[in-house]
Symmetry: D2
Subunit: 460 residues, 4 copies
C-alpha cells in the first residue's frame, strides 16, 4: 500500500497567487518534505513547477516569476519510501481536449488496484503510481457530455478511501473532502481572495481569516470570483483522523474546526487523571509530547521541565559517525540536561510510541546520568493496526504494540512504569466531535480495505 501524508494549499483571485501558495506550503512543510509543486492559471495558460526536496529548495525567485496567474494550487508530499521520484510529485497536471487539469491529493485510496485494472482494460496507460492519476482518468471518462462538476462527482463516486482534493481546471478552483472526512481541508478568506489549506497555520502566516472546515462530501467550486458549494455525496458517519490531532498537525493549527494545542493538552490532563504517580517533575521528549506534558504537569501539579534539549541545527544531513559511535542519530538530535536528571524520579510524557527504539536509547541515557526512576505516560492508546487512509506508521518500522503487551514494551524501553491513555480517555479529550477514525487503536475501519491494499504497493 502506498501511503501519502501530504499538505494542500490553494488560492483564488490573488495577483501574486504563486507566491502566496509558496508561503502556504512553507507553513505546511511538516506535512511533507519529499517534494513540492505549484500549478497556476493566468486566464489563458497553465504553469507548473515541481521538484524534489523542501519548499525553499524547490522554488527559487525565478521559478515563482514564471508561475503567472491569479489562481494557484500547491502540494507538499511526505517521503515514505526510497522509491520517491519527481514523477510522483504533485499537483498532477494533464491535458484533455481544451482543459488543463491539475490535481493535488491528501489521503489514500483503497480501491486503486481494482480501478487501475478496469481502466487498463479500456486501453488506458498509466504514467505514475499516484491515486491522482486514477482520479483524472475517471474524470476524463465521465467528461463526455457532462459538466466538469458532474463528471467529477461521478468519478468520485467510483473511488473509495481518504481524499481531500484541490483541483485547478482552467479558470475553476475546486476543493472537496471525501464523505468520511478523513483528512482536513479548510476554507479561509484573505482580502477578496479565497484560500484553502490542510491546516490553519498556513492562514496564520498569510494573515488570512479562517472560515470553516469543508464538510465531508462537500465540493466547493470557485469560478468567476464566486464560490458555490454542493454535496457531491451523502456524508457518511464522520471519521476524521484522530492521529492528526495527536501527532501529525502543527499545535498552532485548527483542524476539523478544533484547536490542536488544546486537544493535546487535554489528552495530557486526562492521562494524569487516569494514571497519576508521584515524581520530581514531568518532561517531554521535544518536540512531540510537549503539549500533553504541559497538560499532565498542570493536572498533576508537578513541575514541568524541558530537561531534554533538541538541537535546532539537526535536520541537515551530516557525515556518517564512526562505527563505534552508537545511537549517534538519536544523541545528536536530543541531549539531556545532566544536572537535572541525577537522582530524580521522572515522568516522561510522549504523544505516541511507534517502534520504541529511539525512546529506548534516550531512556538508557537518562539511566546513565543517574535518574532514580523513569515513568512514561503516553497521550494516546497503543497503536496496534495499520492505517489505510494516509498515515504511514510503517515508515517508522513495525508497530511495537501490535505484537507486545504493555509490560513487555515497558521492559523493552527500560521503564519503571508505562501507561497509555485509554480509548475512553482519548474520546473524552476530544469530546466536541461525535466520531473519529480510531482504527489504528481499535481496528474499527470505517471502510474495508480493497484487494492488494496494505499488501502490495503499486510500484514500478
Amino acid at each position: 500500500m502506498k501511503k501519502e501524508s501530504c499538505g494542500l494549499f490553494g488560492i483564488y483571485g490573488h495577483k501574486d497567487a504563486a507566491r502566496m501558495t509558496y508561503f502556504g506550503l512553507y507553513a505546511l512543510q511538516h506535512r511533507g518534505q519529499e517534494s513540492a509543486g505549484i500549478v497556476t492559471f493566468d486566464g489563458q495558460k497553465t504553469f507548473e513547477h515541481k521538484g524534489m526536496g523542501l519548499v525553499p529548495d524547490v522554488f527559487q525567485e525565478n521559478d515563482l516569476k514564471k508561475l503567472l496567474g491569479h489562481i494557484a494550487i500547491g502540494h507538499v508530499r511526505y517521503s515514505t519510501t526510497g522509491a520517491s521520484q519527481l514523477r510522483n510529485a504533485q499537483p498532477f497536471l494533464v491535458h484533455f481536449k481544451d482543459l488543463q487539469i491539475a490535481i493535488g491529493h491528501n489521503g489514500n485510496l483503497i480501491n486503486t488496484w481494482e480501478l487501475r485494472q478496469e481502466l487498463e482494460n479500456e486501453g488506458i496507460i498509466f504514467q505514475t503510481t499516484m491515486d491522482s492519476e486514477v482520479i483524472v482518468h475517471l474524470l476524463a471518462k465521465y467528461l463526455n457530455g457532462n459538466s466538469l462538476e458532474n463528471a467529477l462527482a461521478k468519478a468520485l463516486n467510483k473511488i473509495k478511501g481518504a481524499y481531500s482534493l484541490l483541483l485547478l481546471v482552467n479558470n475553476k478552483l475546486i476543493a472537496l473532502r471525501d464523505p468520511f472526512g478523513f483528512r482536513p481541508l479548510s476554507i479561509g478568506k484573505m482580502g477578496s481572495s479565497y484560500v484553502f489549506a490542510s491546516e490553519t497555520c498556513a492562514f496564520d502566516l498569510l494573515e488570512a481569516e479562517y472560515i470553516r472546515c469543508i464538510r465531508p462530501g462537500e465540493m466547493i467550486v470557485i469560478e468567476n470570483d464566486r464560490m458555490s458549494s454542493f454535496q457531491f455525496a451523502e456524508p457518511e458517519k464522520p471519521a476524521p483522523c484522530v492521529f492528526e490531532l495527536i501527532y501529525f498537525a502543527r499545535p498552532d493549527s485548527i483542524i476539523f474546526d478544533k484547536p490542536v494545542y488544546l486537544a493535546r493538552k487535554k489528552m495530557g490532563e486526562i492521562l494524569a487523571q487516569e494514571s497519576p504517580i508521584e515524581a520530581d517533575f514531568v518532561m517531554p521528549f521535544p518536540d512531540s509530547g510537549v503539549y500533553a506534558a504541559i497538560g499532565y504537569a498542570q493536572e498533576s501539579k508537578l513541575p514541568f521541565e524541558m530537561a531534554m534539549i533538541r538541537n535546532h541545527y539537526v535536520g541537515r544531513t551530516f557525515i556518517q559517525p564512526s562505527q563505534d559511535m552508537r545511537d549517534f542519530g538519536v544523541r545528536v538530535k536530543l541531549n539531556p540536561v545532566a544536572s537535572m536528571i541525577k537522582n530524580k524520579k521522572i515522568i516522561i510524557v510522549e504523544d505516541s510510541i511507534v517502534r520504541g527504539t529511539t525512546i529506548r536509547t534516550r531512556v538508557k541515557k537518562l539511566r546513565e546520568l543517574g535518574a532514580r526512576e523513569i515513568h512514561m505516560r503516553v497521550s494516546c492508546p497503543p497503536i496496534r493496526y495499520p492505517c489505510f487512509f494516509g498515515i504511514d506508521f510503517s515508515s517508522k518500522g513495525e508497530l511495537i504494540a501490535s505484537s507486545q503487551r504493555i509490560d513487555e514494551i515497558a521492559r523493552f524501553i527500560g521503564l519503571d512504569s508505562l501507561h497509555y491513555l485509554t480509548i475512553e480517555g482519548l474520546k473524552k479529550s476530544i469530546e466536541w466531535q461525535d466520531n473519529f477514525c480510531m482504527a489504528c487503536f481499535n481496528e474499527e475501519y470505517p471502510l474495508k480495505p480493497g484487494q492488494k491494499c496494505g499488501k502490495f504497493c503499486i510500484e514500478w
Copy 2:
C-alpha cells in the same frame, strides 16, 4: 510545429547496459543538448533516470548504479524552444497492464494533431506534448488481443512522418525506422551484445562493430538473446535527410550506410568545379565547413588555412557583456588570425547559410582586418523551405534564402561573390544513394504535412 532533433542509443545483453548507454549518448551529445535519459530493464523491473542538461550533468555515478539490468535505451534531446521541460524528456515510460513501455523517438510526426483529437474523443488524457505519447496510446489501444509486434505495427500504420524509434518493453528491445527512412538508425555488435545508435560515432567510442543501417519500414526485435527482423510497412521511395550529411551528423560517423566526412569533402570538390575563383587561400569558419573547405582547397589547388580560431572553452554560459560590446557572442566563439588576413583574397567555404547574421558579423571583422576580397562558397543549395521531419531551421530564425536572392544575400553579408552548390552538384556528391529528402531546397516533400503542422506547436 514541434521540432525534435535527437539521438538514440540502445543495447541488449550487456551486464553494464546503463553505463554503455551513458557513453553512447555521450558520443551523440551533438544531436541533443537539452535533456538526456536512460531506461533499463533487469528481467523484473524497469529503471529510469532523466534530467535536463548535458549527459555528464544529468547522470552521476550514483544514478547509473541504480539503472540495473542488461537491456537499456537512451535518448538525448535538442533544445528548440524555451518551453523545454523535464516533462518532455525521453525515453518516455508508461505502465500498461503488466508491461513497462519505454520509447525513444528521433524525428517528427506530421499528423499528431489529428491523432490527439481522435484519442481525446475516446477519453484519453495527455500528459506531455511529445509525439511519443501519441504512439504509446495507439499501441495500448491495439494491444488488446494482439501481440506486441502486431499492435505496434498497427499503431505505426496510423502515424505519419519521420520516426526512428527504440522501444524497451519488459524484456524486448525493438528498433525501427519509418517507411521513408528519414532519420538514421544503425545496428552494431559489441561482443555478444546488440547495439543501436543514430550515428556510428557511438559505436566507435564503445569499440563496437558497425553492421548496417536499419532499412526503411523494418522492425528489429531482440528477445531471449535472439534478433529477428520484419517489414512492418512497405518501404516508400527512400527519403533520408540530406541535411544530416551536410551539417547535422558528426564527420566521423557513418549514416545511411555512408561516411559523412567523404560526403562533405566531395561537396567541397564539386563546389570548386562549379564555382572556381582565384584566391590566396581557402578557409572555413570552424567547425562547420572544415571538410567541404578541405575538398574545395584540394580540388582548386589553393592553400587551405585555419585562419579563424574557435575558442574551445566557449559553450559554458558566461556573464552578459556590456551593451556596447556588440557582436560579442560571435566574437567570443571565433577569432580571426589578423596576420593571415591583411591584404588577402580569401575564399570562405561554409556548409550552409540559415539566417546569415553570424556570418555577416565575421565577414565584417575580416574586412576591418584588411581582407582585400572575400568570396564565399556554400556546400549546399539555398535553404528555402521549412523541414517538417525533424530539422529545426526555425530555431536559428528565418531562412534568408526563402525571401532573398543570392545577390541580395551576398550584399547583406558583405561578400565580393557568393555561390551555392547546385542541387545537381549535391546529388553528384552523394551519388551512391538513389534518393534523398531535399525538400528544404526544392519543396518536394515526400509527405504532405498535416493540419496545424508547421503552424502551431502543441504547447501547454
Copy 3:
C-alpha cells in the same frame, strides 16, 4: 570594532581526529554559523579545510578523508557583518620555518589596532583582519631563541582582551584562556584522547567525559601524549561573561564549571520573587526564555504554556514576501496559538531585550488575538553598554535600553508592565562564582578598550 563569537573544539590522540572535530563543531554550531574550519596534523604534514556556511555544508565525507592525523582543532565563526569572507575563516594557518602554526580564537582583543601599527612599522604585512593574525606575528617574532611555550607566553603578554585559544603547532596541541577568563573553554577526556570545547554539549555528543574548565591565565600543552599545564600569566580578578549564561550558551552545556539550564531557571525564579504579578499563565517566546519562564512559573505557581510555536523549518532561506506582507520575517518563525490567547492575562518571560522590534511585533499580534493583559519579565538587567570582549549586540542593532527608560520601552513594545531582573538578582542567581563581567549592564569594564576599539572595524 570587530566582534567574534565563536566555538572551539580540539582533540589529541584519536585515530579519526578530524571526524570527531566535525561532530564537536556540529554540537557548537549555535556559537557560529558563518564559517567553519578544521586543521589536522598527522605527524608529518598539516591538513586544512575551511569554508563559508554551516558545518554540514562546509565538510563532505571527501573533505574529512583528506584531513589525516590524530590531532585536530576546529572553529566555527559567527557572522556579524556582511563583510564576512573565507579569508577570515579559522583556524588560521601559517608556515614559519619548520613550524605549521594553526590557531583558533574565541573572543575579541582590544589593542589590535596598536599592535598592527607596531608590527607594520617593522615591515610585517597583514593578509586578514583577524586578531589571530596579530597573535601569530607576535609569536613568530618571539620564537627567535625561545621555546614555543615561552614565545607564546611573551606574545600573549602583549595582547589585551578576551581570548580562549586552541593552537596546533606541528605535534603540539595548546589550549588556553586569557587572565580574566572572559570566554569559556573546557577540558574533557574521551578514552585515551584529550578533548577541548567551548561548551560541554560537544563532549556529550561524543560521549566524552567533562573534566574541568581551563583556568584564567592557564596554558595546557599536550605533546607526546602527555598533558602539562602552567600559568602563562597571573590570573586577574575573574570576569567570565555572564551573557554566555543568560543567552549565548546551549542550555544543556556546562560552562565556567556551572550548568546553564539551572542558572537560567534560577534567574526566572528570582525574577518571580522580584516582580510577581497575577496572570492566567506564563509563556516564553521560544526558544530563548524557555528556561527562565519555567523557573518563573514554578516560583509563582502559575501555569506554564508554550503558546507561541516556533517553525522548525525556518532557518533556510526563503523567497522574499510581497511588500504588503509586513513583519513576515517574525511571523514565519513564531506563530501564536490563537485559542490560548483570547481574553487571557499573560506573562511573557524573555531572556533579554536588545532592540525590541521583534518582540514588539509579536506582542502586537497577541493583542490582535484578544489578549487581555500582557506583562513582560526579562531574566537579565537592561543591556545598556557595548561589549568589547566578543558578544556582538550591535549585530542586532541599537540597544534600546541604552537610550530609553524602562517605561518607554514598555510603551514601545506595547506592554501592560515590564520588569527586568536586577543586578543583585542576577548575582544571586549565579551565586556560586565570585565575579562575572557584567559591563554590558553596569559599564564596569574589566579592561579599558584601546584606541579605535568600538569605533572602527579594521576592514578592507
Copy 4:
C-alpha cells in the same frame, strides 16, 4: 619545484573594469584552468573575488557587481598538482599600512627557497606557497622610506627567475617583465583605458588595440590616468620562452610581438624541408599540430586532411568507464575517420611529444583501421630537459626524449618513421628574434636554478 603557467589581465580607467577583466581572463582560459581571481580598486577600497575552477564558474553576475572600481587586475592559474588550493589562487592581496597590495604573477622564481629562509629568519611568517608572497614581503621590507616604485625595484633585484607581474596598489596599476623576458605581457589601448594581457587574444575579444610587448626589465606604472615607463633592471640577453610559440599560446595571439599562427606554420614548412616523405596525406592530431601540419602540407604539396575528429563536448567530467574499456580517455577525445585511414600512407604532424602515451594509443587505433604506413613529424626538437621558468612538463609525466633515442621513441609509439625539427630549423622558423630560451631542448639555461629548485616543491 612549483610550476605555474598562468594568464594575466589588467585594465586602468574603465567604468566596468571587473567585467572587462572577466572577459580578458575568459580569453586567456587556456593558460590556466585551476583557479581565477580579480581584484579591483574604486578610489577608496579594494575588492577581491577568487575561486577554484574555470572563469565562468568562479564569477557570477553577483560577484562582478561587488567588484567596484575603474582599475582591475585578474589572474588564471594552471593546475599542476593535486595540492591545488584556493589559498594559492591569485591575485594575492595583502594589507600593509595604508596600502592594499594585490599581485598577479606568471612565471616561476628559482631562488624562492633561499629568500624564504632569509625572510623567516627575520620573523616573517608565510601563509601560502606562492612566489607572489615572497615578492610582497620583500616589497614591504623596502617600502620603509622608499617610494613604491623604488621599493619594488629593490625587491625585484633580489628575486631571480621568470616573472611577468601585474600589481594593483591602491590607485596605481603596475606591469612589468623580468630582465630576461621569459613570459609574455603586452600593452593595449581600449578607448581611453589601458589594458594589459599575457596574450593579445584577450585584446581581440575586447576589441582593444595592441600596442606592444613590455620590454624585458621594463616597469610600466599607470597613475592619475598617466602611463610612465622605466627600466627597473638592465635587460639581459633576451630569453623569451620558445615553447609559448610552439604550444602554449593561442594561435590567434601575438606574443613577444610576433604572430603565433605564422610561427607554427613556418615550423611545419621547415620540417617538411628537413624531413620530406611521400604519403597520401598529412594530418594533425587536433588541435595541437594543426598549424604546423598545414605548413608541412603546403610545403610538401601533399593533401591536408582532418582525419581525426575531436569531440567538442569533452572537457566535462564524465563517469568512469568499465575496466575493460581501455584507452577510453583518449578515445573519447579523438576519433579517427575510418574511411580515410584504410590502406593509406599517412604523415602525422605533431607540435611536440612529451610522454608519448596518448599518441601511441591513437597510432595503434590507426593501425587497426588499416593504415598502411604511419610517419610522424614533430614541429620542435626533442624535449629533453626540465623547465624551471614556468612550463610544467612534469605534469604530463616523464619526458620520453630525456631517456630514449628517437628510434626507440618511434618503436614505442609504433611509427614507420619519426623526425623532429632540428634546433637550427626551429631557429630558422622564428628568425625574427635574436634569441629564445631553448633550455628544454639544449640545456642552455639562461639562469642557473637555485637550491631545492626542481627537487622539492615548497608544499604544506
